[in-house]
């Protein structure tokens, strides 16, 4: 069992040694074991063979080279598009904001066109009220002002009804 463990340990060191990855401190013990173990010497031969095969693949691909090209143009294009989105948004990105603004302008225009009496007195019609007030006014057959519902009260036909407020 001790022999097996020693072999296993040595073979691991041999694997590191074939690629010059062994530390100085690890060499002596390995050499001692190798001197008396033919099985580990066989493993060493095998490791050296397979390492040569790997080396062959490395050299073949190094000779081939990565190619005369640069990824920079592609990377630069992607970066520009990445930054372009946040720096200068296209017209379609303004669409929701534009729509909202247009709607607000349209609403203001309607209010101005229909909601303001010719004498400019808005005081009665522009008072915000609760639903209780609206109900009490409805009972008194109010005259409605288009464009103010539900935010502005309907003005009672009879000025006496202002007492209900």
């Amino acid at each position: 069992m001790i022999w097996n463990n020693q072999c296993r340990k040595t073979q691991r060191l041999l694997a590191l040694a074939t690629g010059n990855d062994l530390l100085e401190s690890e060499t002596a013990g390995m050499q001692r074991h190798l001197a008396g173990c033919p099985r580990c010497r066989d493993v060493q031969d095998g490791l050296q063979q397979s390492q040569r095969a790997l080396e062959g693949l490395r050299l073949a691909t190094v000779a081939e080279g990565p190619g005369a090209w640069s990824v920079w143009p592609g990377v630069a294009r992607q970066i520009r598009s990445l930054l372009g989105i946040s720096a200068a948004p296209g017209w379609h990105q303004w669409l929701p904001t534009g729509t909202l603004a247009a709607a607000c302008v349209a609403m203001i225009a309607i209010l101005l066109a229909t909601g303001v009496p010719s004498d400019g007195k808005l005081s009665a019609g522009s008072v915000p009220v609760s639903s209780r007030h609206i109900q009490s006014i409805s009972r008194n057959q109010p005259r409605s002002i288009p464009g103010y519902y539900p935010y502005f009260v309907q003005v009672p036909a009879d000025p006496d009804n202002y007492r209900n407020f």
């Binding site: 691991r12 010059n20 095998g46 691909t61 990565p66």
Partner: protein, 228 residues
């Protein structure tokens, strides 16, 4: 034993002698030319590494481009007290391995519904119908090694990164990398020898399957990464 031969993770600088740290700082302040210098400095090395994994030039190029884009997007997350190279390669290698895993999951079930075929051919047994050259043979054997060992083997033996650089790239302890490297070479050697002998022995595949399995059972990696 001599000092291990390595290619540094730090690329030779095209674009002047400005340090990576300085260039990263400039990129953070909106200097895109500094990023171009970084890209041109590292693209050859990155492409070479990704090509080892992807084995397809166009794919490696796309992955390299995506890697640089991610680096640009995450440049604020980079810790300037560390080296830029390993950080870049970590993003590139992870991106590539993720892509290859997803592609493998997508392709295998659809092409080979038969569960008997899902394992693929035994890498230790040469198919006599295939006339593969040496490079193809080596690649085929490499594919038979589990990903975590193969990755270390490729980075060390094919790309010549030092074990400390591989540790930084894969975000593992150096002891773990050395363990995996030894394991990877032993597995490669075993599969390689079996494949080579199966090409010369007339009765292919009669050597038995106990080789790698026995080896596998003997070598359980210590769970050192859990300590990180």
């Amino acid at each position: 034993m001599s000092e291990p031969e390595t290619r540094s993770v730090e690329a030779t600088p095209p674009g002047g002698s400005a340090s990576d740290a300085r260039l990263v700082e400039d990129v953070r302040h909106g200097d895109h030319e500094a990023f171009e210098v970084l890209v041109r400095r590292y693209e050859g090395r990155l492409m070479s590494v990704l090509l080892r994994f992807a084995q397809d030039r166009e794919l490696a190029r796309d992955l390299a481009q995506e890697t640089f884009l991610r680096v640009f997007e995450r440049i604020d997350q980079f810790d300037p007290s560390r080296r830029f190279g390993p950080w870049l390669f970590r993003i590139g290698v992870n991106l590539t391995l993720d892509y290859l895993r997803k592609r493998k999951r997508r392709i295998w079930p659809s092409l080979f519904g038969d569960s008997r075929l899902e394992k693929g051919p035994d890498p230790a047994t040469a198919d006599p119908r295939e006339a593969l050259d040496l490079e193809q043979e080596v690649r085929k054997v490499l594919e038979g090694i589990p990903e975590k060992y193969r990755t270390v083997l490729i980075l060390r033996d094919l790309e010549n990164f030092s074990s400390s650089e591989i540790a930084a790239i894969l975000h593992r302890k150096e002891a773990t990398i050395r363990w995996r490297l030894a394991e990877a070479r032993m597995r490669f050697q075993e599969l390689w020898m079996r494949r080579q002998s199966s090409q010369h022995v007339p009765l292919v595949g009669q050597e038995g399957q106990d080789g790698p399995q026995k080896h596998q059972s003997q070598t359980d990696e210590p769970d050192t990464d859990d300590l990180e």
